[in-house]
Amino acid sequence: MELSVIPLFLCAKADRLPARQREHTERGERMNLKLMEENGVLVAAVAGEIDHHSAVLLREKVDRQIAARRPRKLCIDLSGVSFMDSSGLGFIMGRYRNMAGLGGEVSVKGAQGRIEAVLQMSGAYRYVRKAEEENT
C-alpha cells in the first residue's frame, strides 16, 4: 500500500512517537496533518479537506499532541486546505477552548477564499489571532 493512501486511523504508530520528536506527519484519505514544534509553539499544518468526517481524526491527533507537549501556543496553518466547512470552524474553536483552558492561545494562518469567508463570518477572529504567513 502506498504511504499516501494509508488512512489516518491506521497510523497508530505515530501516536507513540516520543513527545520530544520535533515533527511528524499524519496522512488521511482527503486530509494530511503535519505537526511541528519549536520553542513551545505547536504548528499544525493541515492540507486537503476539513469536513465533519476528517475533523474527527484531526481533533484527536492535535489534542493528543497538545496533551503530550503542553505548548503555550497552537498555530493552525490552513494554507494547504482546499475545502473547509463549519466542521473546520468547530475544530478551530474547540482547540481554542482547550488551549485557553491550559492558559495558551491559538492563531490561524493561510486561510483563503471561501475558507477565510467562513472564518470572518463566524467571528472566529475575535478568539483566535490571525497570523501572517511567515509568523505563528
Binding site: D51, H52, H53, A55, F83, S86, L89, G90, G94
Partner: protein
C-alpha cells in the same frame, strides 16, 4: 458552452464518508453550467453543510437513515439542490437558522451551518416536521 437541462438523484447512507461524495457530485453537475471557481466553492460548502446536518443531527438516537439529494440544472443556469432526511425534524426553524444556535455544542458544532448556506447560495428554504424529517432547498444562479 450550452447550459444543460440536467438532473441527478442520489440516495446515500447518512454516514460521514458521504459528505465529500455529495459535494463532489454537486460540483460535477454545477460544472456543466461553466461556473466560476468561487461559485463551485459556494455550492460545495453549502451542500456539505446540509448533508453534514443530516448526518450529525437528523438521526440522533435512532439508527442512521438515508440522505436523499436531488439536484437540477436548467438551461438558464439555475442550480437547485434539495437535501432531505426522514429524521427527527426541527422544532423551531427560525431559531435553528439563527447564527450560533446549535443543539450540539459538546460535539464542537458552532451553529453556523444555516448561515453559511444562506450566505453562499442565492436562496435557502427549510421545511421540517418534528418526528418526520427535514427538507432543505437551495438555489444558485450560475
Amino acid at each position: 458552452m450550452i447550459k444543460g437541462n440536467n438532473s441527478v438523484k442520489l440516495t446515500l447512507p447518512a454516514i460521514s464518508i458521504n459528505e465529500s461524495y455529495a459535494r463532489v457530485a454537486a460540483a460535477a453537475l454545477a460544472a456543466q453550467a461553466d461556473p466560476t471557481i468561487e461559485q463551485i466553492a459556494d455550492i460545495k460548502t453549502a451542500v456539505s453543510e446540509a448533508v453534514t446536518n443530516v448526518i450529525v443531527h437528523a438521526y440522533r438516537g435512532m439508527p442512521a437513515g438515508k440522505v436523499y439529494i436531488t439536484m437540477k440544472l436548467d438551461e438558464k443556469g439555475i442550480f437547485t439542490v434539495t437535501v432531505r432526511d426522514t429524521g427527527c425534524g426541527i422544532e423551531d426553524i427560525g431559531r435553528a437558522r439563527e447564527p450560533c444556535f446549535t443543539t450540539a455544542p459538546a460535539e464542537e458544532r458552532s451553529g453556523m451551518g444555516f448561515s453559511i448556506m444562506e450566505t453562499f447560495m442565492d436562496s435557502l428554504r427549510v421545511r421540517s416536521r418534528p418526528g418526520r424529517g427535514t427538507t432543505v432547498t437551495m438555489i444558485k444562479r450560475l
